[in-house]
Every structure is written in structure tokens, then in C-alpha cells.
């Protein structure tokens, strides 16, 4: 029972995990991206179409990354190079994503593909309780584990990562150290967006292996909230994403058991819990438990007079 619930938790949490990691990369460089919801849809459709057309899941995942990378480039160009309002640009990206995927996904509705196969990791998958949920999964889930570690190493063990973190804190400091501010910020937005796209692809390739209009259903917004819960750190993002995976898994379990509580009410739970978690994390933030990047949301103009 616990095993089944944990397994469902990991599978439901994975799309949100990718989305949260992508959002963290954006925000670490100082750019708020409220287009996550739209990027997930773009990734979902791109991933599904890629797999459907080539029959290869790997191609699908790469297509998802690429589509979201390109869409993210719009947000990056507007907010970094053109110093546009990050909140408006992000909302525009979400609308754009919802609309574009509805338009171009029309022909994909009702098509089916072969989803992921589980690959058991020898030894580890035999562990009691956690063995099956964590080590008898598809390769995209294993990739998400690796990504959590890689992102942490990137930020705290490479000079690139240090430069990107500095952009989020004080872009002028990075500039005077010779860091190409706009280029790095743009890349952070696009690569982060691409990773969000992979989260979307997980929805259309694994969760329900088909394309459904608006299938992200607010998961992108949950990811935006989770960034704060995660204090902009990738290991904590893993925790947050599985927390929500868990709530979703339990909600589905209740429905399957045929409880008397309305399905509509149960479906509210993830959104409700996100708000609660957001409030608690924000209060912790204010108490100094962690710090948000100081220049988050601010555009940088070298020639602005100080």
C-alpha cells in the first residue's frame, strides 16, 4: 500500500519537479518566469508530437526541450535584452502557450503512443518500501534525479554557476567582474524553460500518454509557488514536488476508493495546499530562514545612473 502510494507520488511529482527546477534556474539569474504553465503545455505537445512522429521517446523529450527553449527565448529576449516587465511577459507566455498548443494540438487529439517502460535498477530496486517507487521507474525519472544533483553542482561548484547566482543578486557586480550579463541571463531563461518543457513532456508521454488540451491544469503555477518553498535550491525542489505528488496521489486514491466526498472538492486539494505551503514558506523567508535573490524581477541597464 505504502509502496503503491509512493510510486504514484513520484510519478505525479516528476512533471512538477522538472518545472520547479527550470523555474529555479530562471529566478537564480534574476528573472521571474510566470510562463511556466504555458511552457509545460508547449513541452507536452512538443514531446507528444516528437514521439508520435518518430516513434522515439528520446526524440520526443528532446523536442519538448527544444520547443520550450524557443518559446522561453521570447520571454528571455523581452525581459533581458528589451528590459520588459517580467510579470506581464510571463503571463503573455502562458496565454501564448495555451493558445498555440490548442491550435496546433488539434490534430493530435485522440492519437496514442507507447509510453515509458520501467527499468529496475539492479540491487537498489529490491530495497524495502523505497526500492520500487524510486528505483523501478522510467529513465526520465532517473534523469530528474540526476538533474537535481547536476543543478546543485552547477550553482555551487562551477564558476558559471557562481556567475549566474551573482546575476540574480547584483547584476552590476557581475558586470564589473566582466560577466556577460545579458547573454548569461538569456541562457538561464531559455535553458530553464527547456527543462520546464521536459516536465510538460512527462505529462503527455508518461502520466497520460496522449495529448489533451490544457493538460497541465495549473501544475505550472504550483511549480512557481514551489520555487519559494524550495528556497531556490534544487534538492528542496525535489522535496516540494514529491509533497505535491503525494497529495495528488492520495486524492486520486480517494476517488478510486469511491469515497462520498465530491471529486470536485478533492481536486481542489493540491491548489489549496500550494497556497498554504506558499504562505508558510513566505513567512519563513521573512524570518530570515532563507533569502530570495535580491535582484529578482529587476531588469539591468548598465547606463542607468546610480
Amino acid at each position: 500500500m505504502v509502496e503503491i502510494l509512493l510510486d504514484a507520488t513520484v510519478r505525479a511529482g516528476t512533471p512538477i519537479l522538472f518545472a520547479t527546477l527550470g523555474a529555479i534556474i530562471n529566478e537564480r539569474a534574476g528573472i521571474i518566469n510566470l510562463g511556466i504553465e504555458g511552457l509545460m503545455l508547449i513541452g507536452a505537445l512538443g514531446g507528444f508530437a516528437g514521439t508520435y512522429l518518430t516513434g522515439s521517446l528520446l526524440t520526443g523529450v528532446m523536442a519538448a526541450f527544444l520547443c520550450a527553449f524557443v518559446a522561453g527565448a521570447i520571454h528571455g529576449f523581452i525581459t533581458v535584452q528589451l528590459r520588459g516587465n517580467q510579470i506581464v511577459s510571463g503571463l503573455a507566455l502562458t496565454m501564448f502557450g495555451i493558445g498555440m498548443t490548442a491550435l496546433f494540438g488539434k490534430g493530435m487529439v485522440g492519437m496514442t503512443i507507447e509510453g515509458f517502460e520501467r527499468i529496475a535498477i539492479p540491487g537498489l530496486s529490491l530495497l524495502p518500501v523505497i526500492g520500487k517507487p524510486f528505483f523501478n521507474q522510467d529513465w526520465l525519472i532517473y534523469f530528474s534525479f540526476a538533474l537535481v544533483a547536476l543543478i546543485w553542482l552547477f550553482f555551487y561548484r562551477t564558476r558559471w554557476g557562481l556567475a549566474v547566482r551573482t546575476l540574480g543578486e547584483n547584476p552590476a557586480a557581475a558586470d564589473t567582474c566582466g560577466v556577460p550579463v545579458n547573454l548569461y541571463r538569456f541562457l538561464a531563461v531559455t535553458i530553464g524553460s527547456g527543462i520546464v518543457g521536459i516536465g510538460g513532456a512527462y505529462l503527455s508521454l508518461a502520466t497520460t500518454p496522449m495529448w489533451i488540451e490544457n493538460m497541465s491544469a495549473g501544475r505550472g503555477w504550483i511549480a512557481v509557488a514551489l520555487v519559494i518553498f524550495a528556497s531556490w535550491s534544487s534538492p528542496r525542489a525535489l522535496l516540494g514536488a514529491y509533497l505535491f505528488g503525494g497529495i495528488t496521489a492520495m486524492q486520486l486514491r480517494f476517488q478510486a476508493m469511491g469515497t462520498s466526498v465530491s471529486a470536485h472538492i478533492l481536486q481542489m486539494l493540491p491548489y489549496f495546499f500550494t497556497i498554504v505551503v506558499l504562505v508558510v514558506s513566505t513567512i519563513r523567508l521573512q524570518k530570515g530562514a532563507s533569502q530570495q535573490p535580491e535582484s529578482l524581477g529587476l531588469s539591468y541597464d548598465r547606463e542607468d545612473r546610480k
Binding site: R159, A163, T166, E169, D175, T176, R302, E303, K306
Partner: protein
């Protein structure tokens, strides 16, 4: 041998302002070259051009006789030019190590932490500094942060170091130590551009002095060809300086009393720790202290922007601790904030509107729930004339005004209701001498009419000139009072660094 650096006919404009016009000067290898000029003369702008932050409209920069074009700080760094900015370019949340590492040249993307830590630690030892590499920068004093900025440049092996007003945040003793280091660097063959408007320092360390005035380079003088008076007259020229005189009228009546006040900041550290202060009627009480020792918290708690964690504030005997800003205002405390652009004004709104920001609900400017636009306009014309504010056409957003005029708008608003107490933070920072003297005159005139002022400033000369008493702060505590007619800069300096307790000379 060609000059290390040659700047010719530089011009730089910003929307509506010519910041630099036809500026030329040169720097030789191994010299300390001072740029002298009042605030607003264009010193920092010129240096931002030299480091590639600003792009000049016209003119040329040559290094070793070869003309160069800087499109970004990357280009100027590659030529060995480095700068310690007046607003430090540090990331407070990052460790000392991370801040220095980012500034280094040729660090591989996958670097060896241990190796670089050792390298940096070696240089820190060489200067006899006490810096913990793993400590986040926000925990360090402003003086220590300045050392980090300097170390960043030295690790890069810069040939030309630019220091923009480096002594503003130092005690006199710390400044002396900095000068020793600069002399040493000069002996190693490095060139230094030193920016200041403090005559004493300029006399002490410069080989040559170039004077900037209103965006023009007036002249360059060799050491020995100038004295303090000559420099001062060149710097100020024949500008009109408002005259004022302070009549000592301090009475013994205490209008404001602070008892054992403690304030903690967002990070849970104490900004003020059991702080005491007494302010007398008609007094100008100077507060001396190195920036970051609790001055800002003091002003914010007095004006209700921050709450006290413990202790009491009494205004004329009435307890106003933890009342909100509105109540404080009613209790008669006016406030000239430190960061005038970020909290003093609503930048997108007009001068008229900014002038009534505190009194917009009063009967003078409103009828029932509607605003009285006529009265608001009349008030603005009055104030603009009285305080000689250059405000541009009607309805111009305040952010288009110069720093001095923005400060006048704030002062006009704050003093409009004849406050009993004024808390002024660095009220002349960034102002040219004319505007600064005007601010001094307003404060002195206020004192004549019984207004008490808490004057927080970083320039000891300003405090010594204006104050009736000076209280010295260190680490959120009151070190003691001194009598400005009866003290020395050295005594205050020692108190500012916590090395000496207050003189009993002053009551």
C-alpha cells in the same frame, strides 16, 4: 615613455543633462592622481566611462599610447583597469571567497576550491587583514567590505586602480591605513586614480590633481604647485554659496529621549543595542559613526518605520515607542531619509503631488473626499519659490529633477508644518557645495526657531561645523558625547572605532 592612460575631449550626456563635456587628463605609471571636484562635477561618471560602464558620446581613451574602445567592463578589465565603486559591487549573500573568486581572471569553470582559497588567503595575510573567507559579506563591516573590493582588483593584477571616495566610509585611522597601502602599491609601480572632495586627503597623498567642475576638466596641477586654498577656489569657482550663521540657542529642555532602545533587523541581528540619547530643544545633535553602525535603524525607529524590540522613545515626555509613522508625524518628527530616491519621493509623480504626500488628507488640500487641485498647485508654487526648486514645466515627474532639487522637494515638504524635531540622514550626500550649504542654512535657521535636529552625517567636518553636540555611535550603542568646539577628529575617530569611551567634556 607614453602615459599609461590618456583621456581626451570626453563628452557624455544623459537625457536632459550634459554630465561630462570636453574632459581631458592623463595618468603616468606609478603615480597617484587625484580627481577633485564637488558632488555632481562628473567624477564618477568619468570613471564609469573609463571602466566601460558608460559609453561616451565623443572623445578618446588611450592606453600606452594606443587608442582603445570599451564596450563593457570586460574590455577595460582586460586592459588592467579596475575600480572600487562608491556603491560596492559585492553580493551580500555570497561569501567573501565567492565575491573575490568571481572577479578573478582565468578561473576555470570547474575550479579547485582549495587551491583558490589558499591563493586568496595568502594575499589577505600579506595585507595583515582579518577576513574569514567563508563568512557572508553582509556580516562584515563596511570597512572590511572595502578591503574585499580592493583585494578583487589586486588579485587581478590591475595596473590602474580607481578608488571612488574610498574614505567616506572609514574612520580617520582606517583612512590612514588605506593611504599606507596605496603608497606601497605606488612603489610597486601601480597607478592610482583617487577620487575625493576632501581637501585634507588630497593634500596628503596626491602626486597630481585634476580638478573637475560641472563636467569640465579645469586644470591639472603638480604637487607643490597648489595649496588647499588654491584647490578650493578652483573647485568652487565663483559659485554663490548661501551664507548662514548658527546662533547657539540650545536650551536644557529635553524634547526627545531614547532609553535603552534595541532594534533587530530582518536577519535577526541587533542594529541598535540598548541605545540611549537625549535631544534638547533648539539643538543640532550630530551623530558620528561609521556607516552601518545603527544610524539608519535609529532614524527609522524614530520616524515609526521600524518597531523597537525593547526600550522607550519619549517625545516631550509622551511615550511614542512603536507608534506608526503617522502618529510620529503628529508628534512632530520630520525625516529626511538616507536614500532619497528610494524612500523620499514617489518618482513618477509631479512635484506638486510629492509636496503634499504627507498632508494630502488635511483640509488645506482636500474637500470631503475630493482633492483640491487648486490648493495643491498654489502650495507648490509657493514652495518652489521659497526653496528655489528648479522643477521644470508643470507636471514634470520628480525623477527628472537633479539630486539637489529632489532633496529640496523633500526638505520643503518635511519642514512645511514647522516640525519640533527633524531627523536628517546624510542630508547633503551627493549635493554640490551650494546646495549643501543651503541645506545647512535651513537646518540652522530651524534651530533658531526652536526646532531640534538629529543630524546623521559621514563627513566629520560637516558635523563639527554644524552641531551643538556630537554623539558617537559604534555597533548600535552610544559611545558618548563630545563638544565640537573642544575635540579633535582623532578623538572622534577613536570613539567611532570603539577604541575610546566618550569624553566627559560635554553635558
Amino acid at each position: 615613455m607614453p602615459d599609461l592612460l590618456q583621456i581626451e575631449n570626453i563628452r557624455k550626456t544623459f537625457p536632459g543633462v550634459v554630465a561630462l563635456d570636453d574632459v581631458s587628463f592623463s595618468v603616468s605609471p606609478g603615480e597617484i592622481h587625484t580627481l577633485l571636484g564637488e558632488n555632481g562635477a562628473g567624477k564618477s561618471t568619468l570613471m564609469n566611462v573609463l571602466t566601460g560602464l558608460y559609453h561616451p558620446d565623443r572623445g578618446s581613451i588611450s592606453i600606452d599610447g594606443e587608442e582603445v574602445h570599451f564596450a563593457s567592463p570586460r574590455d577595460s578589465l582586460a586592459r588592467g583597469i579596475g575600480m572600487v565603486h562608491q556603491h560596492f559591487m559585492l553580493v551580500p549573500a555570497h561569501s567573501v571567497f565567492e565575491n573575490i573568486l568571481l572577479a578573478l581572471d582565468n578561473v576555470p569553470n570547474f575550479f579547485n576550491r582549495k587551491e583558490y582559497k589558499q591563493k586568496i588567503a595568502a594575499l589577505i595575510d600579506e595585507f595583515g587583514l582579518d577576513l574569514d573567507l567563508d563568512s557572508p559579506v553582509w556580516k562584515l563591516s563596511i570597512g572590511a567590505q572595502q578591503w574585499i573590493e580592493l583585494i578583487k582588483l589586486l588579485m587581478r593584477d590591475c595596473r590602474l586602480l580607481i578608488l571612488d571616495e574610498p574614505t567616506a566610509v572609514l574612520t580617520p585611522q582606517e583612512a590612514d591605513r588605506l593611504f599606507t597601502v596605496l603608497e606601497r602599491l605606488k612603489k610597486q609601480g601601480k597607478s592610482i586614480i583617487f577620487i575625493s572632495h576632501k581637501m585634507r586627503e588630497v593634500m596628503k597623498i596626491s602626486d597630481r590633481v585634476t580638478i573637475l567642475k560641472k563636467g569640465h576638466s579645469i586644470t591639472t596641477l603638480q604637487r607643490g604647485d597648489y595649496d588647499e586654498n588654491r584647490l578650493a577656489s578652483l573647485m568652487i569657482g565663483n559659485d554663490k554659496i548661501p551664507q548662514w550663521q548658527k546662533n547657539l540657542q540650545m536650551s536644557d529642555e529635553i524634547v526627545l529621549e531614547i532609553e535603552k532602545l534595541s532594534v533587530r533587523n530582518d536577519r535577526g541581528l541587533s542594529d541598535l543595542e540598548s541605545f540611549d540619547l537625549q535631544l534638547k530643544k533648539g539643538e543640532i545633535l550630530g551623530i558620528a559613526g561609521v556607516a552601518g553602525n545603527g544610524q539608519k535603524a535609529l532614524a527609522e525607529v524614530l520616524t515609526g518605520l521600524k518597531n523597537a524590540n525593547s526600550g522607550k522613545i519619549l517625545a516631550k515626555g509622551e511615550d511614542i515607542t512603536n507608534s506608526d509613522a503617522k502618529k510620529s508625524y503628529i508628534a512632530g518628527i520630520a525625516h529626511i531619509p538616507e536614500d532619497r530616491k528610494s524612500i523620499g519621493i514617489a518618482p513618477d509623480m509631479s512635484v506638486d503631488e510629492n509636496l503634499i504626500m504627507k498632508s494630502f488628507k488635511s483640509g488645506a488640500f482636500s474637500r470631503w473626499i475630493f482633492q483640491d487641485k487648486g490648493a495643491i498647485r498654489r502650495n507648490a508654487s509657493e514652495k518652489i519659490e521659497q526653496f528655489a526648486i528648479k522643477s521644470g514645466p508643470d507636471g514634470t515627474p520628480v525623477r527628472y529633477l537633479s539630486g539637489g532639487n529632489i532633496q529640496k522637494v523633500i526638505i520643503a515638504r518635511e519642514l512645511s508644518e514647522a516640525p519640533a524635531v527633524l531627523v536628517a540622514l546624510y542630508p547633503t550626500r551627493g549635493l554640490d557645495i551650494g546646495s549643501a550649504e543651503y541645506v545647512h542654512k535651513v537646518i540652522a535657521d530651524g534651530a533658531d526657531e526652536g526646532m531640534s535636529t538629529i543630524l546623521i552625517a559621514e563627513d566629520l567636518d560637516e558635523l563639527l561645523k554644524l552641531s551643538d553636540r556630537i554623539a558617537v555611535m559604534f555597533r548600535g550603542q552610544l559611545v558618548g558625547y563630545v563638544d565640537p568646539r573642544n575635540t579633535t577628529r582623532e578623538e572622534i575617530g577613536l570613539m567611532m572605532s570603539g577604541e575610546k569611551q566618550g569624553g566627559a567634556a560635554c553635558n
